[in-house]
């Protein structure tokens, strides 16, 4: 009988880890549905950027209030996880405060966790207020209705619940320690939860133990649940921000992706010795001609798909976007959210059918409209604004390439400009022979 809690705990832990691993597997599979792109270069520079931007949160603080509050939650989250390790070991071995033997260091750790928990709680309340009471504009855009809106609040509620449970657990533990209850040897420091003691005033040891155990169990089961909530949530960024920054673009923002397939074709066209009637090379004969650009999520590369899962929908990109600021439909955040939604749909399709069965849908038109794509000024404000290295512009460009090179569906004025470039070497209908006329004009 005495092993029952341990067995239950191990079952809960195993299920939570198994379910999480299953979803990580799906996540990985979905991301790898994207085209290959070589990101193995410049490892030291990538590591450096990851340390600065992801670990060091350097881009978060361009908005000082949100940045500061976020750092509190981030540090709290990372450090309080040391306590979760102890809780898990206690659960497995049926011990209580296993690490207590390290003495004063333990007191210091528990004390710091408590202070961090309080700071997290305060930050979360600020975040909730900014989102729901102050109604900061970027949290109330069109794409933030329904699940995205609820998801954001769920995370905040969850963090409140976890922190309250953590502090309740500590407060009752502290009271039991002071009462000299069996199994509650003195350990830890409780700079925050000591103020909760009046709430438990006069309760018997057995009631206190019941509350302490309930809080302990609810806290750790809550963490197991939260871990598995990640895959369905924008909160995945707590894990994916790191690889996403690592693999993000290192070259200057102005350098758009190079297309080698087109380069080969152009080279052949420019080669005076090329035989236009030549038979295709043997090994090229059964190659399917590559589609230009992207009309569906799987036409994008794996880094772009990783970014779609990384996006935490903070909306900094959208709030900096000149098109969005002037009322156009384009929202870089929506580009990322749509990409993830479509990729998830494709993933679900594969889960159900074993392989992807055509569902008659695609990212273009069913999710992202042409109007959104053509509103972009390619100004890179969204790329610059993203705290985790997401490049929504690269997806817009891929989709424009599809529209122009596969469907010849550019807006008419752009077709005129492009025809001019082709014929007169300038986007306007002027003759190339007149390019120097300015010298003699007044």
């Amino acid at each position: 009988m005495e092993y029952i809690p341990q067995i239950l705990f191990i079952v809960a832990l195993a299920f939570s880890v198994w379910f999480f691993a299953r979803n990580v597997g799906r996540l990985r599979r979905n991301i790898l549905l994207g085209k290959d792109v070589d990101k193995t270069d410049n490892k030291p520079a990538r590591l450096n950027k990851m340390i600065r931007v992801a670990l060091g949160q350097s881009k978060m603080v361009t908005r000082p209030i949100a940045g500061f509050l976020h750092i509190l939650i981030y540090v709290g989250f990372v450090i309080i996880n040391i306590e979760v390790l102890e809780i898990i070991l206690d659960g497995i071995f049926g011990t209580h405060r296993l690490f207590a033997f390290i003495g004063p260091v333990y007191d210091f750790l528990i004390g710091s966790f408590e202070i961090l928990a309080l700071l997290v709680l305060i930050s979360v309340i600020f975040f909730w207020t900014r989102r729901n009471i102050m109604k900061i504009k970027r949290f109330w855009s069109k794409e933030m209705k329904g699940w995205p809106k609820n998801d954001a609040n769920n995370i905040l509620y969850f963090e409140v619940i976890l922190m309250v449970l953590f502090l309740t657990m500590n407060a009752t533990d502290y009271q039991l320690q002071m009462n000299g209850a069996e199994g509650y040897a003195e350990a830890g420091a409780f700079p925050v939860s000591q103020y909760l003691l009046p709430l438990f005033d006069g309760l018997s040891n057995s009631t206190l133990i019941a509350i302490e155990r309930t809080a302990w169990w609810a806290h750790i089961l809550g963490i197991f649940f939260f871990l598995n909530y990640l895959y369905y949530s924008k909160h995945l960024h707590i894990l994916l921000a790191f690889p996403n920054v690592y693999y993000s673009k290192l070259t200057s923002n102005g350098q758009f992706a190079h297309n080698e397939t087109v380069a080969k074709e152009v080279k052949m066209m420019m080669d005076p010795d090329a035989d236009p009637y030549a038979m295709p090379e043997e090994d090229a004969s059964d190659e399917v001609p590559e589609k230009f650009g992207a009309s569906d999520a799987t036409d994008l590369n794996w880094f772009q798909l990783l970014s779609a899962y990384t996006c935490t929908e903070c909306g900094r990109c959208t709030s900096e976007c000149p098109a969005n600021q002037t009322g156009k439909k384009l929202s870089p955040r929506k580009i990322m959210m749509d990409t993830r939604d479509r990729l998830e749909e494709i993933g679900e399709n594969i889960n159900k059918n074993g392989e992807f069965k055509d569902d008659g849908k695609k990212l273009l038109d069913d999710y992202i409209t042409r109007e959104e794509l053509w509103a972009c000024t390619t100004c890179n404000a969204c790329v610059e604004a993203c705290p985790v290295g997401i490049d929504p512009l690269s997806i817009i460009m891929e989709m424009r390439q599809y529209l122009v090179m596969e469907e010849s569906a550019a807006p008419m004025e752009l077709n005129n400009a492009m025809t001019n470039i082709e014929n007169n070497a300038a986007p306007w209908p002027y003759n190339q022979q007149d390019r120097l006329n300015w010298i003699n004009e007044n």
Partner: protein
């Protein structure tokens, strides 16, 4: 008024078996747009005045392909790029300066993958270098003490991280430099990039250039400085829309330097 601009072409230099130090890439706007041609001339006046050894491609120059690439026409872009690179490499060009941030960005960042490797500078960077070398003298002149705000071109600033060269030049002009609420890495686009210059905007509640002009006007400037022919057009239109064209002019930084130096 005869301005006596000395603008040698690469072809004429080649005929004399000479090679210029630097190629001035004029760009389509700089060659054909009436407003931008003034920027081109202002830059040439300064080059002539200092005696910089430069040349232009003239009728051998063609669109870099920037608008085609940003519009999604990779094929047309690469055709343009290949043609230009062939010409540039035939003349063994090593250094290029241009008054257009779009040409600057494309040649600097996107030509190398296609076999075009050059040292490329925006004209504000080039002038800043001349200033540092003591070859260019910049004096306040008529702009001394004037309240000026600088609009960052996306393809100079965010795209290539150059925020200081144009500001340094403006400070040398002794102007009172005031910043807009979104500037430098957070500078708001003028609305022309990504081939938007050549099409109507999508439906919305405002034009981007009007929005940006409002930000500029909030600083109560006596003039607006820009570093891109397209930004210049957009901001000039914005100022006209606000009926401020008589009191607030939009200049390129190089025009201010030329005017201050009575060139």
């Amino acid at each position: 008024m005869s301005e006596n601009l000395k603008v040698p072409t690469m072809a004429s230099m080649m005929a004399e078996d000479k090679k210029p130090e630097v190629l001035f890439w004029v760009g389509c706007a700089g060659s054909f747009d009436d407003r931008a041609k003034k920027i081109t001339k202002a830059f040439v006046k300064i080059l002539n005045n200092i005696g910089v050894d430069f040349a232009v491609l003239g009728t051998e120059e063609s669109c870099t392909g920037d608008p085609a690439k940003r519009a999604g026409n990779e094929f047309l872009f690469q055709m343009q790029a290949a043609t230009n690179i062939e010409v540039l490499n035939a003349y063994e060009i090593k250094k290029i300066v241009t008054t257009c941030p779009h040409c600057f960005n494309t040649i600097k960042n996107e030509y190398p993958a296609l076999g075009g490797n050059y040292e490329v500078m925006h004209h504000t960077q080039f002038l800043k270098k001349l200033l540092d070398e003591g070859k260019l003298k910049v004096e306040g002149g008529q702009f001394k003490g004037k309240r000026i705000t600088f609009h960052d071109p996306c393809y100079l600033g965010r795209a290539n991280g150059e925020y200081e060269a144009p500001r340094e030049l403006l400070r040398k002009l002794d102007v009172e430099l005031v910043e807009m609420k979104s500037c430098k890495s957070r500078g708001l686009c003028c609305g022309a990039g990504g081939a938007q210059m050549f099409k109507d905007a999508e439906p919305g509640n405002k034009e981007v250039n009007i929005h940006r002009t409002e930000e500029a006007l909030e600083t109560k400037p006596e003039a607006i400085a820009a570093g891109c022919p397209f930004c210049n057009t957009m901001m000039t239109d914005g100022v006209k829309n606000k009926e401020k064209q008589d009191s607030i002019k939009v200049y390129d930084v190089v025009e201010m330097i030329a005017e201050a130096g009575d060139l």
